[in-house]
Symmetry: C2
Subunit: 379 residues, 2 copies
């Protein structure tokens, strides 16, 4: 637990970057996709499956964990690693996003956020200092500053106020993080500012002035659409320091990830592979396959016979179709597993292509394969 938190940039290929984040609980190969373990479980998967799929790091949600089972409760049980059985690095968000998206009634002022639990209506307060304390109690390897997230669409004034408040909270979060020695643990600032270039610049300059181990890009993937998200990245990532990891929060589809890597992003998280899996959608190298569709009822082919993950190669589409239609747990388990495995295969392909200097070819070939499907019939 005493190794230093650091980032090594091994290679660039265009804007795409191949690196390693070193943490107290091990290394993270970037570009990295972090499966989301909201309340201490990547939904429907055993941690052994998450690891075997190739994930180096998972994400936990401060908002959810502070409500249930509670930060002090997890700490008393040995921290989030011990509690969940995940031995690798863990990143926790700060709760800002869920306070906006989930909590029933919320009030934001200079001090922090006051909100009601979406579970039982109980009232909670979350300041930048408490957000950092919770993440320290959880024992997370990468701890995010508290920020104010706003809905999309929003007014210019809302975006400006939230960005400025997030900057002031960044400073307080940083002080709180530094007030306790945590060797091997890092603290990321979050660039806000919506889709406005000048505002993103002010935010990123302000954060770099404070100084963090890494920089996240927040406030995207909230309904603005892929085009606006990518154009925002186009003017945001060039202004982030080269020697620190860059994390695009809450993104996204395989397409979003591939295009964001092309714009210099190193880390991603999203509930999409598990959430879509529970609803019957598979992400594969042949594109998306909706297993609910009746056309799969008699299809004895697996999703991808050449993939090392059993969920992709050992079960027929007909069986998956049947399980999903019947609402069976195993259907949700298998498709969540398949999707996490495919996402990790995609990241591995991206990393290898950057190392070889062939990222542009990989990007084009991957898009082409998604379009073409499995070449046998429409899926």
């Amino acid at each position: 637990m005493s190794r230093e938190f650091s980032f090594t940039l091994h290679k660039t290929d265009g804007q795409a970057r191949r690196g390693t984040v070193h943490t107290a609980h091990g290394d993270i190969r970037t570009p990295a996709f972090m499966p989301v373990g909201t309340v201490g479980t990547v939904k429907g998967l055993y941690m052994e499956q998450v690891k075997a799929a190739g994930a180096d790091i998972i994400l936990g949600n401060t908002y959810h964990l502070m409500l249930r089972p509670g930060a002090e409760e997890v700490a008393a049980l040995g921290g989030l690693h011990q509690f969940t059985g995940w031995k690798g690095p863990i990143l926790t968000d700060s709760g800002g996003f869920q306070i906006m998206s989930l909590s029933k009634i919320r009030k934001i002022n200079e001090a922090g956020a006051t909100f009601q639990s979406h579970i039982d209506g109980r009232k909670y307060e979350l300041s930048p200092e408490r957000a950092m304390e919770i993440q320290r109690l959880l024992g997370s390897d990468i701890q995010m500053q508290l920020d104010q997230c706003i809905q999309f669409p929003h007014t210019e004034k809302e975006a400006e106020d939230a960005m400025q408040l997030s900057l002031r909270w960044a400073e307080r979060s940083r002080s709180a993080f530094q007030s306790v020695s945590q060797p091997g643990h890092g603290n990321f600032g979050i660039v806000q500012g919506g889709t406005n270039e000048k505002r993103r610049l002010v935010s990123s300059a302000g954060l770099q002035n404070i100084g963090f181990e890494g920089y996240a890009i927040g406030g995207l993937a909230v309904g603005e659409g892929q085009k606006l998200m990518l154009s925002t990245l186009d003017f945001t990532t060039p202004n982030l320091p080269h020697d620190r990891p860059r994390y695009l929060m809450g993104v996204g589809t395989p397409e979003d990830i591939l295009e964001s890597v092309a714009r210099g992003v190193d880390m991603f998280d999203c509930v999409m592979p598990t959430r879509s899996g529970r609803h019957g959608q598979a992400f594969t190298r042949f594109g998306r396959i909706n297993l609910r569709n009746a056309r799969h009822a008699a299809d004895s082919r697996p999703l991808d016979g050449e993939h090392p993950c059993p969920a992709l190669s050992h079960y027929s589409r007909a069986y998956l179709h049947h399980l999903i239609r019947a609402g069976e747990l195993l259907g949700m388990m298998l498709l969540s597993w398949a999707n996490i495995a495919y996402y990790q295969t995609l990241m591995q392909g991206i990393r290898e292509a950057i190392e070889l200097g062939t990222f542009e070819d990989f990007r084009a070939a991957t898009h082409e394969q998604w379009q073409r499907g499995d070449g046998l019939r429409p899926i």
Copy 2:
């Protein structure tokens, strides 16, 4: 697939019996507990987990599978073994019980049953001949006769009529089974007659007159209570042939199973381990543990640190409590797995005790351990 279906009785200890059923897909060590895979999946478990837990055989439900995906559809996909990935023996019931307990509207006459699907209201017919055809299409190793199940309580006339009709259906089921060569596959008759001794005797004599590879005891565990169930076994099993396996349908709790083995039963099936697991209840050698209970919130002990199944030994009660409270899939997965594993451990203990001639000691010690709990504090 050409080996003969047979039963070897190795040892008896009091009424308890240690045997082996030989089938086309392998041997079944008895006394055996068969996990229920209603629609082609043991809910919440991978088949590898079911096998590793020690199960030799699983059960599939003709009623559910004929509605979805359909018998001909499963056959076209290579049969139930190929469809589900379970390589060992499979027993299928005949649908009689679910027509009584699940279907919306049903009509029973001499020819068979007409009923509406509980899924979409579609109308189906099930005759003894069709029940056997469905089970042959599924490829099941042990195929049950169609019987008429009745609710408890019932009138004497209802019980008599249902028993007599079931006997006539037994004869037609047997003819249908024998009309096609299925080496290594067996066909069981079902003793009916409620809790009435004379009626059970008539039923069992009638079935033996027809002649089956095994004999099931139906119409129990339908609300009559454990005492009446066991007293019914007391006068039913002595009248079944010694050289054929005896299967008590739909039973039960670990206590029910232990007491029924003591009365000469060889095979069991029940949804209890998986259904209770999904609802937060664990069956362990320390008795039942309700993980929803707040007393487990800070308990870092596993359910049973000495058990080889990871679900019992690698996860803290606090984590299981948290997962069940949060409604997480992993909580249902782990407790279903733990329960299937404990049931199989119980059966293994029973089998070893009979071999050693110490079944009575085992029975007493097991009851005593269930009562005592884990000796640390109330669970």
